[in-house]
């Protein structure tokens, strides 16, 4: 039995979670930093500066309260060391170090992407290792061979835009509300996926991705449709664009995932990250022929969260990969990383 407190602050959210045995989520709290300013009536630049540490305290406290456990019961503190924004990372990292120093609980420095890859192991039916891990989000599109949670090999990643970013930007271009990825998903159900023949970039080349050209092609088509129909586009046209774009993007993701399974000889696929919440992506991936087993994390754990950080930290604690109090934040370190050795 092990109980890990996870803390994640790599980008714009603060998150804390308590996870038992690396799989069972007792509590997972995600606090948007903008919410933090709401009680003060909006933008307070002095508050926004580096003393966010105060807000971490509240987030961690709330997490412990929701889980109904005290710090005494915690076996280790896992924190995102990177990659991410140094300014944001330091908030979580400094707090985790201070807490580790104060309580004597071991500190574990976790790679953010490793966290996403481990999110398929959260829940009642954790996906067995090894597997192909597919990170599809606004910031990342990358395929990994996850042999164990400490042996992870990068197969390929995007050369320009992440897939989720293309979803959000095209939604915004058509004037759809935020978050745009979900809007495309909903709207696409009303449209024809073959209304427009958008490019399927890099469909045949290795495990690298490129979504910039697809995004541009869709933006040009939207501009042309606007010349014909006016702005904003009639809903039927929007739906056709959304559906055709989504099919093109998912064709690429599906094809790469299928070939990554073949190349690694794996039969298990974990699709993680914000875009893993997309219903059409789930439908297509679930259609991979047996014996392939496809797993998506619960929607709440697809986006950035601290439960996934705790899941990795649990494994690191078991392996004795604790960090010292001079663990540093890093902005950009690819996986496989040497974070655990720091």
């Amino acid at each position: 039995m092990s109980l890990i407190l996870g803390i994640e602050s790599s980008c714009d959210d603060l998150a804390a979670a308590l996870v038992r045995d690396g799989t069972q989520v007792l509590a997972s709290v995600v606090q948007n930093q903008d919410d933090v300013h709401a009680p003060f009536g909006g933008v307070v630049p002095e508050l926004a500066s580096r003393d966010h540490v105060r807000h971490v305290y509240g987030t961690v406290e709330r997490c412990l309260r929701e889980a109904g456990v005290s710090m005494d019961a915690v076996d280790g503190i896992g924190v995102t060391g990177g990659p991410g924004l140094i300014g944001s990372l330091l908030v979580g990292l400094c707090f985790a170090k201070a807490l580790s120093y104060q309580t004597g609980k071991p500190l574990l420095g976790v790679h953010h992407i490793e966290g996403h890859l481990a999110s398929a192991r959260l829940g009642d039916e954790p996906l067995d290792l090894p597997y192909v891990g597919f990170v599809v989000s606004g910031g990342h599109t990358a395929l990994y061979h996850v042999e164990t949670l400490s042996r992870i090999e990068l197969l390929g990643q995007t050369r320009d835009d992440a897939a989720g970013e293309a979803f959000d930007k095209i939604a915004k271009r058509m004037g759809l509300p935020y978050p745009g990825g979900r809007e495309i998903d909903l709207l696409a159900r009303e449209g024809r996926g073959d209304a427009f023949d958008f490019p399927r970039p890099m469909l045949r080349q290795g495990f690298e991705f490129s979504f910039s050209g697809l995004k541009t092609a869709v933006a040009l088509e939207v501009a042309r449709q606007e010349r014909e129909h006016g702005t904003p586009l009639p809903r039927a046209v929007q739906a056709d664009v959304a559906a055709s774009f989504q099919e093109a993007a998912i064709d690429v993701l599906f094809d790469k995932a299928r070939r990554a399974l073949a190349a690694t000889g794996q039969r298990r696929l974990a699709v993680v990250g914000g875009l893993a919440a997309n219903s059409r992506l789930r439908e297509r991936m679930a259609g991979l022929p047996p014996p392939v087993e496809v797993r998506f994390p619960p929607v709440a754990l697809c986006t950035d969260n601290a439960a996934m950080i705790a899941a990795v930290a649990d494994r690191m604690l078991a392996d004795g990969q604790t960090a010292s109090l001079d663990l540093e934040a890093f902005s950009r370190v690819p996986l496989p990383s040497t974070l655990a050795e720091r």
């Binding site: 606004g138 490019p199 050209g213 541009t216």
Partner: protein
């Protein structure tokens, strides 16, 4: 301020070449405000800038829209930021944006017009516009090279402040 001056690019590779000469002209502390519509080729230009700053070719320079900032090792550190998804000045400050203005590296910002006051007055402004022409025909060869279907772009350069103006002149000279 002088009037903006411009140069046209016919392909993504040409945009990268223009970015590369821009990258070679950059000095520590330089700030480049890079604007242009969705799909104009901003990240493509930054890939060229990275090349001009001797960022190792095996390091992929990707869009920082969601990660807010990408940092790359080169002749000078390249910081590539994006205001597209940023909701407030407070959020920018909270993310440690000021640290990027420490003068130790080169800062390139996409969608700078969303938070103009976050950038120093002394800067180089680069705007990329898609030149009006018909886009690729729907129903065309879907799997063909995307870059081959791209319309031409116009890159305008405008320097403000002493260093910004000098940089603009040097960049335009290298582009022509």
């Amino acid at each position: 301020m002088s009037r903006p001056d411009c140069v046209d690019s016919r392909s993504a590779e040409e945009t990268r070449r223009l970015g590369s000469s821009l990258g070679r002209a950059l000095q520590a502390g330089d700030v480049v405000a890079l604007s242009g519509d969705l799909g104009a080729g901003k990240t493509c230009l930054v890939q060229g800038i990275a090349r001009g700053l001797d960022v190792p070719p095996e390091v992929p320079v990707t869009s920082p829209t969601f990660t807010l900032v990408g940092e790359y090792p080169g002749r000078l550190p390249l910081r590539h930021a994006d205001f597209y998804r940023v909701e407030s000045y407070a959020r920018l400050a909270g993310a440690g944006f000021d640290d990027l203005l420490d003068g130790k590296g080169v800062l390139v910002v996409e969608w700078p017009e969303l938070f103009p006051d976050a950038l120093p007055q002394d800067r180089l402004e680069v705007h990329i516009a898609l030149l009006a022409q018909e886009g690729p025909e729907a129903g065309g060869a879907g799997a063909s090279s995307v870059e081959g279907q791209d319309p031409p772009r116009r890159l305008s350069v405008l320097g403000s402040g002493e260093r910004g103006r000098a940089l603009a002149e040097e960049v335009l000279r290298s582009w022509r």
